[in-house]
């Protein structure tokens, strides 16, 4: 079986200080139900820990959930991924992302933002599509 035929590998995590994990748990269950390999962490991960786990687990996508302003650390995460030569991994952010902050997320290299009200289908299709792009990209290079 080639790599591209195996299930997408997704790290679902929270960085920063907040512990509200209802959203990340639900997203993890959506992705698992859709047949993906989900690596799930408890909240409060340090940026470096997320990068290391992404390398160890060879993930295609990192999903970061934020309720209480932890998305402010996303630019730091993106930079750390770049420094670790992990820029091919797609990063998605979900949760309470104020409209005024969206541009900063996208400018930092975030692939997609899921807001409250995003459906199961949108999330599953979005993550699957990104994982395929990631694998397509790495196959070429």
């Amino acid at each position: 079986m080639t790599v591209s035929e195996t299930a997408p590998r997704v790290l679902v995590t929270k960085i920063g200080f907040d512990g509200h994990d209802r959203g990340s748990r639900i997203v993890a269950s959506y992705l698992r139900d859709a047949g993906m390999e989900v690596i799930y962490t408890s909240p409060w991960q340090a940026v470096d820990a997320v990068v290391n786990l992404a390398i160890e687990e060879d993930v295609d996508v990192i999903g970061v959930s934020s309720l209480a302003t932890d998305h402010h650390l996303i630019p730091k995460l993106m930079k750390a991924l770049g420094d670790a030569k992990m820029e091919h991994v797609a990063v998605i952010v979900g949760g309470i992302i104020p409209p005024g902050d969206e541009k900063a997320m996208m400018d930092a290299g975030v692939a997609e933002i899921f807001h409250p009200g995003a459906t199961r289908e949108q999330i599953v299709d979005g993550v699957r599509g990104l994982a395929e792009q990631v694998r397509g990209g790495s196959a070429v290079s």
């Binding site: 679902v12 920063g16 200080f17 907040d18 512990g19 509200h20 994990d21 209802r22 990340s24 748990r25 639900i26 993890a28 269950s29 989900v38 799930y40 962490t41 408890s42 909240p43 409060w44 209480a68 302003t69 932890d70 402010h72 650390l73 730091k76 309470i96 104020p98 409209p99 005024g100 902050d101 807001h115 409250p116 009200g117 459906t119 199961r120």
Partner: protein
């Protein structure tokens, strides 16, 4: 003789009831079962066949006395309105103080202080990423910070609610500050919100990473200290809000909360405290969802259960020990990012439900909470909503206005049954502490969260603007509050560093040593040493670090 037709309540006779049933069946067509969020099936009509006044004394009675269904005080909101307690916390102590004063001018009657998440996690702001400092709460690291936060606030006349998980450093700062101002501790009133470490552990991991046994010890010290020296202070607020926000149904969150309260009460009794010495100071904090009658019934049922448990199971003799006093917060997870102004309607209904349920204090959410930390305008609307409900809608006029409703009384009985079933499950698992250690509670909450989400996903649970009645919306305008002023936060970090540098290092070190000693000596009280440390210039982060090192770190159970 036909007894039914003489029913003095004017209830329908058997023949009219059966005629209605036939008419209903022919008009309704297919009648799919409807269930509330706790899973209780809701009938189309309730009559004296479901509930009648025969059980008035046993099930309802009068407010302020058992069975307590109707309220914890004889005069309830008519005698004294619920407190309007808005959560406030943002940026620096000086900005917090300004916002607090503005809210008091708008009608807020009690102080609430929400610290920055770095504070929740037990750090000082000079130890963490600056990006996160002050973004969702006020940074309070030192007694000096607390002094600025509470400048101009009469501590002996205004109730203060501190979101202050163990080891209660915020109250330590406040107590030390009161002593400096010459205010006796017995004159301080308010609540240690978030002292319920179990709710943090199971629902949102917002504990200090003190080990579970360490958290247990520190809470018991806090209760003992308050009992002796701060007799107007509520050291325990048992929290159902976290669990319901994390996905527990209303009945589950209530059952889990009451199980937690029993755990804490038994822990106190094991220590040798008299039930009547601490139970009058137990308070509760709940989420109020938009399921209007279910929430009101949840609170009415819980009042009845707690009144019975305190008397029959915990051995309380003082009527004040039987009172189920609670703060309610409108549910953020019912609010939608789509068509955000609709949230004003939602918050109004949630607040109405809590008021009908007989709450003692209320926080109403800002309509924009699903977009960002609430703006000041949204916070003002939230306060006005409470003023409108009380003074325009007349909700403080009549005590327990739902009392005697066939539906609400039936539902109250059914919610009581559902809550008791949850409590039985926890009891069978060895009590709340054991059920948390084993992960049972976390699994229950997680399963309910997913079940609810499935109902939203498949359209069974309507959310206006999300899965129904969507409209094409303009992209949302910049709400203009994407973080505090970075320069101000950096200046605040400098201020904390300067404070640490300028204090008497000997005094600070001695206080830290005393705190460590207390942690290792069950005969001493850790909270007493927290106050002394606060007074000696020890910072929040230093107090937390000392206790973490002595009492052990906690680690979240990962349940996905």
């Amino acid at each position: 003789m036909n007894k039914q037709s003489k029913n003095p309540t004017g209830a329908p006779t058997r023949s009219s009831a059966s005629r209605w049933a036939e008419d209903y069946a022919s008009q309704i067509g297919t009648d799919l079962p409807r269930r509330n969020r706790s899973g209780i099936e809701i009938k189309p009509l309730y009559t004296p066949a479901d509930w009648n006044g025969d059980r008035f004394e046993a099930q309802l009675g009068y407010p302020g006395q058992p069975p307590a269904t109707r309220g914890v005080y004889a005069s309830m909101h008519r005698g004294r309105s619920w407190s309007q307690r808005q959560l406030i916390g943002y940026a620096t102590p000086a900005e917090y103080n300004q916002r607090l004063r503005n809210m008091i001018d708008a009608g807020v009657t009690a102080v609430s202080l929400i610290p920055c998440n770095s504070v929740y996690r037990g750090f000082d702001i000079d130890e963490v990423d600056i990006e996160l400092v002050g973004t969702c709460g006020v940074t309070v690291n030192t007694i000096e910070d607390m002094e600025v936060c509470l400048e101009g606030i009469p501590l002996d006349r205004m109730s203060v609610s501190l979101n202050d998980p163990s080891p209660f450093t915020l109250l330590g700062f406040m107590a030390a500050l009161a002593r400096r101002r010459g205010i006796p501790w017995s004159a301080i009133t308010g609540t240690s919100n978030q002292s319920d470490y179990i709710s943090h552990y199971v629902a949102n991991h917002m504990f200090y990473r003190l080990s579970l046994p360490g958290s247990r010890r520190v809470l018991l010290d806090h209760i003992k200290f308050a009992n002796q020296h701060m007799t107007g202070w509520n050291p325990v607020s048992v929290v159902g809000q976290h669990m319901q926000q994390a996905g527990a149904t209303p009945a589950e969150s209530m059952g889990l909360t009451l199980s937690t309260a029993i755990q804490y009460a038994n822990d106190c009794i094991t220590l040798g405290l008299e039930p009547d010495s601490f139970l009058p100071r137990f308070t509760f904090f709940f989420d109020i969802s938009i399921s209007l009658f279910e929430e009101a019934a949840k609170f009415r049922a819980a009042r009845r259960i707690w009144s019975r448990i305190t008397r029959e199971q915990l051995g309380a003799k003082d009527p004040r020990s039987w009172r189920f006093k609670f703060h309610g917060q409108t549910s953020g997870s019912d609010l939608t990012r789509q068509q955000p102004l609709n949230n004003i309607a939602r918050v109004t209904i949630q607040a109405l439900s809590g008021i009908l349920g007989g709450l003692q204090s209320l926080h109403t959410d800002g309509y924009d909470e699903v977009l960002s930390v609430p703006t000041e305008d949204a916070a003002r609307v939230a306060v006005a909503t409470q003023n409108i409900l009380r003074e325009e809608a007349g909700l403080a006029d009549v005590i327990d206005p739902l009392g005697g409703s066939y539906y609400v009384e039936t539902l109250t009985d059914q919610m009581e049954e559902a809550i008791l079933a949850v409590m039985k499950r926890i009891e069978d698992a060895g009590g709340m502490y054991a059920a948390v250690e084993s992960g049972l509670v976390q699994s229950m909450i997680g399963e309910s969260a997913i079940a609810f989400q499935n109902r939203v996903d498949n359209g069974e649970q309507t959310m206006v603007g999300v899965n129904a009645y969507q409209i094409k919306e303009e992209s949302l305008a910049d709400v203009g509050l994407t973080g505090p002023d970075r320069a101000l936060m950096e200046a605040q970090v400098d201020r904390v560093r300067r404070f640490k540098k300028d204090r008497s290092q000997d005094d600070a070190q001695q206080a830290i040593d005393a705190l460590r000693n207390a942690a290792n000596d069950d005969g001493q009280n850790t909270f007493e040493q927290v106050i002394e440390a606060a007074d000696a210039g020890v910072t929040h982060g230093e107090i937390c670090t000392a206790l973490r090192e002595e009492l052990g770190y906690g680690h979240p159970l990962v349940v996905a």
